[in-house]
Symmetry: C2
Subunit: 383 residues, 2 copies
């Protein structure tokens, strides 16, 4: 382009809904501030407020009152390890995200401000951030689900270099109750974790399929503006073949158990467990992240006893392990409210002599744990 045209000036204007006069809103960008000593200071200008509190997983005891100095409220966190953290203000009792922080994420119906702490290449925070490396692409596609009788939406990650024509193994990655096909991408940081692990040489390039696990919905309510459209005649687990069919038809996937993994968190862990029962031998890698493994809700008996008493499930589980999956991985936090259920499942597997691996972490039923579990699990796949 010639000099003359280069001089055409671009008006810098932001089309805010409010209007043309706003242009770039002036914002205080002094929050969050990462301090040299490893703490982080959160700051909110609110001279008219009577009281400001902050909650979040970076806050000591999860909850604190902020300190008011001349109308600016501050809170400084403890020293923070490399991680992705969240927080939210309450201004005179009403929730408010940090106006100075663009980073925010949705968990079901709840929004939080977020930030990442990373100190060196390869640490846990590093895995969640974007770096100057080759990036995979994300597609949000609608697929026909004849089983459920509707078109449904899912998210699919394809690794960098995918367009060069090679075939790739596939991880089916399932969200928890209340989540949807966006959950693993946003809170789960799947794209970042996979991009980074692949670039670091710690995971093999793979396709990751993130469906919507709510058989009553076609898509995220954020996408559709509504919930519970569908009243399916069958279950999500029974309809899972529709997802596999779509992926095998439209993507360059390697077939066979050695190239197929299934994992999920919480309800998605339950889905993983029950889909594997229906399809023994199809998945060479299975991951139960804080899984809601439960038989009869009304029963007071431990899971292992219930499993033993069900001839059908026992037979299905036997078929799963007879196929010798390369990895059957159970992960849960010490404080998870599903800990005892998972302990029951392990007792049953131990008694039967079925080969599985167990990863016990600190903490409870949280996205922090599920991101870590994905980071570990992905490194074990297809090798």
């Amino acid at each position: 382009m010639k000099r003359h045209i280069l001089q055409l000036a671009v008006l810098l204007m932001a089309g805010t809904a409010m209007a043309q006069e706003a242009i770039f809103e002036k914002r205080d960008t002094g929050s969050p501030v990462k301090n040299d000593d490893g703490t982080v200071t959160l700051r909110l200008k609110a001279p008219e407020a009577q009281k400001v509190t902050v909650i979040g997983d970076c806050i000591e005891k999860m909850h604190a009152e902020m300190k008011n100095t001349d109308g600016t409220w501050t809170y400084t966190t403890p020293q923070l390890a490399p991680e992705l953290y969240n927080y939210r203000f309450y201004v005179d009792g009403v929730e408010a995200l940090d106006p100075a922080n663009l980073e925010r994420s949705r968990d079901v119906r709840s929004f939080m401000s977020t930030f990442i702490i990373s100190r060196e290449k390869g640490d846990q925070g590093y895995l969640y951030a974007n770096h100057d490396i080759p990036h995979g692409d994300v597609q949000q596609v609608w697929y026909d689900s004849p089983s459920l009788g509707i078109q449904r939406r899912m998210s699919i990650y394809t690794p960098a270099g995918y367009d060069k024509g090679k075939k790739y193994p596939v991880l089916y990655l399932l969200h928890g109750a209340g989540g949807d096909e966006e959950a693993w991408l946003t809170l789960g940081r799947t794209q970042q974790i996979l991009d980074n692990l692949i670039a670091l040489g710690k995971a093999v390039p793979m396709i990751v399929v993130m469906p919507n696990g709510n058989a009553t919905d076609d898509a995220s309510p954020l996408m559709t503006g509504r919930e519970h459209k569908n009243h399916p005649a069958t279950t999500y687990q029974e309809g899972f073949g529709d997802i596999i069919n779509y992926v095998q038809k439209h993507y360059k996937v390697k077939r066979g158990a050695a190239n197929t993994a299934l994992a999920g968190l919480s309800m998605g862990g339950f889905h993983t467990f029950s889909i594997s029962l229906l399809r023994p031998g199809q998945f060479g890698y299975l991951g139960l992240f804080s899984a809601a493994v439960r038989m009869d809700r009304r029963s007071q008996k431990p899971i292992d006893v219930q499993l033993e008493e069900s001839a059908e499930v026992s037979a299905q589980l036997e078929a799963v392990f007879r196929a010798k999956p390369s990895l059957y991985w159970i992960a849960i936090g010490k404080d998870d409210f599903l800990y005892q259920q998972n302990a029951g499942l392990r007792r049953y597997l131990d008694k039967k002599g079925y080969a599985y691996e167990y990863h016990e972490s600190e903490g409870g039923h949280t996205w922090r744990n599920w991101r870590v579990y994905l980071s570990i699990f992905a490194q074990r796949l297809f090798k």
Copy 2:
């Protein structure tokens, strides 16, 4: 799946970051409430607040104080025509989105709560909502930009049925200053507008390419966590061929001016104008939505005079019109601060006898107008 397995109960739990005890947070969902008389009531529970105000394009005069009754603050809008509306609360001076409303959208660094009013099939609000019709897919891809020297991200919409193998015409759709490759998808409702217009038979199925127009960035700061990574040796407009090359290589696109459109809002309108000058005859359809058409920023002369005084731009514009584009469409609101610039451009085109169409709307430099302009422009393409 057999009866027995069906009885496996799913624990309904939301893995909030806060923790397992939260499960589904109980929320007051009584906002916004669409009343029978066409008004909408916004409501916020804030018993500790001293003052709550609300701003937005559904608020009379854009700004109002809310009324406190027993700690619940309310505001009822005027009667609203079918549209997508936005609003945001200020609780004792601090911005807060509506906790009861999941719908929210980002404009540059600013978030607003939103809702859609639609009264009948085909009205403006209908075009922005999701309906039970075939849906197109959205991809967010990283492409190599040799001109700018980086990998960059863009969003691409492919219409329902795309996977059946046919080729499609392409609309390149550009955002404004401060926006990014997500702007047309979120505030612009591009996926919904195209899905709906195609299903209504009012637009032909097309691919829509939404690049990032900031040559200094590789992607949305929401994606990367930073801004202004790049210091390119060339301009976005000069590098636009990288985008076209990627699309033509990776997507099933019809070639030629009759199958290629270019449009943009504000800065994107300027990009549309200047890219067309560099590529006369390549785009059969051109759309300038509230375009920032400007020559020398320091000049006080009207645009038409500046255009006449530039032999180079005059010659380029002549080449654009000599190629006889099927549609050269200029749209702007009466209150837009760029109105006079566009009037100057039109005077120049009129004087030269170049064929264009002009659409003048109410309102200013707003997403409301740009969504409407896209709705109109898309119906004119490739016919």
